[in-house]
């Protein structure tokens, strides 16, 4: 198909057919990562700039590895030690970077709203690597792809996402995507960690975890984002874990073929225990491996060319 997007700002911007196109491409890129020579010349001569205005290890590494495996040149900039600390506006910084002719900017930014502006202003591709509480589209794509890989299809799956929904751009992107692909989603967490207006997301909402476990095909535990959470939103790690943590007892309540997911990094002993994280049901490392393939597929689509017909 003719890929119509220069950028990827959110899952909300993608049609189900386009999500399927990315998924259908991903196995080809996954195969490259498993070769001895993990590189193809596809994006030779292209430059990908990774701007991470928030701390990130795995997302940045995943994007960087994906770009390098396609032979693109990569440059990574973080907030620390860059001109961002000197008071330059993001738009000025981006225009200066643009003057150096990158082909793609991958950006993580702490606030929603900036990336669509950048994408509109800049001629290069802009890919959202997480913007505030808004979206983290590539994470949702790799999550959904991992589910599809495991179950064969997304349609009809019952996906339960548990934890800090309010601060989770991963949850938001996954809800958008899973609904488009025909899956059912239930969001679980304490009321204090649910955002206002959550009813409008179109997912079922529950403050109780145990009743939804037996019917779930996928249980995705979300990280308690301690850096964003004021202390009063829940009493403490131990109490949170007893109500919403996934450990041995709750794993035993799961359907025989249900899987455990986590977008990482995990807080062991808080939202997930080692009994769950290291169990055979966990496909957490599959998510990480698939992340590289999905990002390769996406960069290929956004940078690979467009049909002139």
């Amino acid at each position: 198909m003719n890929w119509p997007h220069k950028d990827l700002i959110g899952i909300a911007d993608l049609e189900a057919e386009e999500i399927t196109t990315i998924f259908d491409l991903a196995p080809n890129f996954k195969e490259i990562s498993r070769r001895d020579i993990k590189k193809v010349p596809t994006l030779r001569g292209k430059t990908v700039v990774l701007i991470f205005y928030e701390a990130s290890t795995r997302t940045r590494l995943s994007f960087e590895i994906a770009a390098k495996r396609l032979s693109a040149d990569t440059v990574a900039i973080s907030q620390t030690g860059s001109a961002f600390q000197k008071g330059e506006t993001m738009m000025d910084a981006a225009k200066n970077i643009m003057a150096m002719m990158p082909d793609c900017i991958v950006m993580r930014y702490p606030y929603a709203g900036m990336l669509p502006r950048l994408a509109k202003e800049l001629p290069c591709s802009v890919i959202n690597a997480g913007d505030g509480y808004h979206e983290h589209p590539t994470q949702a794509l790799l999550d959904m792809y991992s589910m599809r890989e495991h179950f064969g299809a997304l349609k009809g799956l019952n996906v339960v996402m548990v934890g800090d929904i309010m601060h989770s751009r991963v949850a938001r992107s996954n809800v958008y995507g899973l609904k488009k692909m025909g899956a059912r989603v239930t969001l679980v967490g304490p009321k204090t960690l649910m955002p206002p207006g959550i009813e409008s997301w179109g997912a079922a909402v529950s403050t109780e975890f145990d009743p939804v476990i037996p019917d779930a095909d996928v249980i995705m535990m979300l990280r308690i984002q301690k850096e964003r959470i004021a202390e009063h939103l829940f009493p403490g790690d131990r109490e949170y874990s007893s109500f919403y943590g996934l450990g041995k007892a709750r794993v035993a309540m799961m359907k025989k073929d249900a899987v455990i997911m986590h977008p990482g990094p995990m807080n062991r002993g808080v939202e997930i225990n080692s009994d769950a994280a290291d169990s055979k049901r966990a496909i957490i490392l599959d998510q990480v491996e698939n992340g590289v393939a999905i990002r390769m597929a996406l960069m290929y689509l956004c940078l690979g060319g467009s049909n002139v017909d």
């Binding site: 890929w3 080809n28 396609l70 290929y300």
Partner: protein, 179 residues
């Protein structure tokens, strides 16, 4: 305007001639593998392997190569190659590879295929076999085994019709206008 270049029967004869050439060239078939370039070359390679198997009475490894990620024209942003799966179900290290394509034209597909193969391992030698050589080379690449040579204006396309039952041969037509 579409012209039939070869009927299925004539394609079968060209393949038999290619099989004759292969049989006289290689005395031992120990390390020989076939790799067809998707999608036309894959079809030709399948038929040739079937023929050689019948003649030699032995299995011959067959792989399929997708070269979309190795093209040298992506940066021109002119078209959008569909990526399909490469499937090489054997180790190519030290093997004699017979690389098969349907039509040899500019040589760029073959170059991309060779790049792809050497990323998968180090074969002892690569031979190139094509059903048609239509000239128009842009790279210094020649086939070791050629079914038929035909000079065509650059605007024309040679197309192999692959029947639904891929074990059967389709006809070959000259058609269309190459962009």
């Amino acid at each position: 305007m579409t012209d039939i270049l070869l009927t299925p029967g004539e394609v079968g004869m060209v393949l038999q001639e290619l099989a004759d050439k292969l049989e006289s060239k290689f005395k031992t078939w120990e390390d020989i593998v076939f790799i067809g370039i998707r999608s036309g070359g894959e079809h030709v390679a399948e038929h040739l392997v079937r023929l050689m198997k019948k003649r030699l009475g032995r299995e011959i490894p067959l792989g399929e190569l997708d070269i979309a990620l190795y093209r040298d024209d992506l940066s021109k942003r002119l078209f959008y190659p569909e990526v399909k799966k490469t499937s090489i179900p054997f180790d190519i290290e030290g093997k004699i590879v017979i690389l098969v394509d349907d039509v040899l034209n500019t040589g760029r597909s073959v170059r991309a295929a060779i790049d792809h193969i050497v990323d998968l391992g180090r074969p002892r030698r690569i031979y190139l076999l094509v059903l048609f050589d239509r000239g128009g080379r842009e790279l210094p690449i020649q086939a070791d085994f050629t079914g038929k040579t035909i000079e065509l204006p650059s605007k024309k396309i040679i197309k192999i019709n692959v029947p639904d039952d891929t074990s059967k041969l389709g006809n070959v037509i000259i058609t269309g206008v190459k962009k």
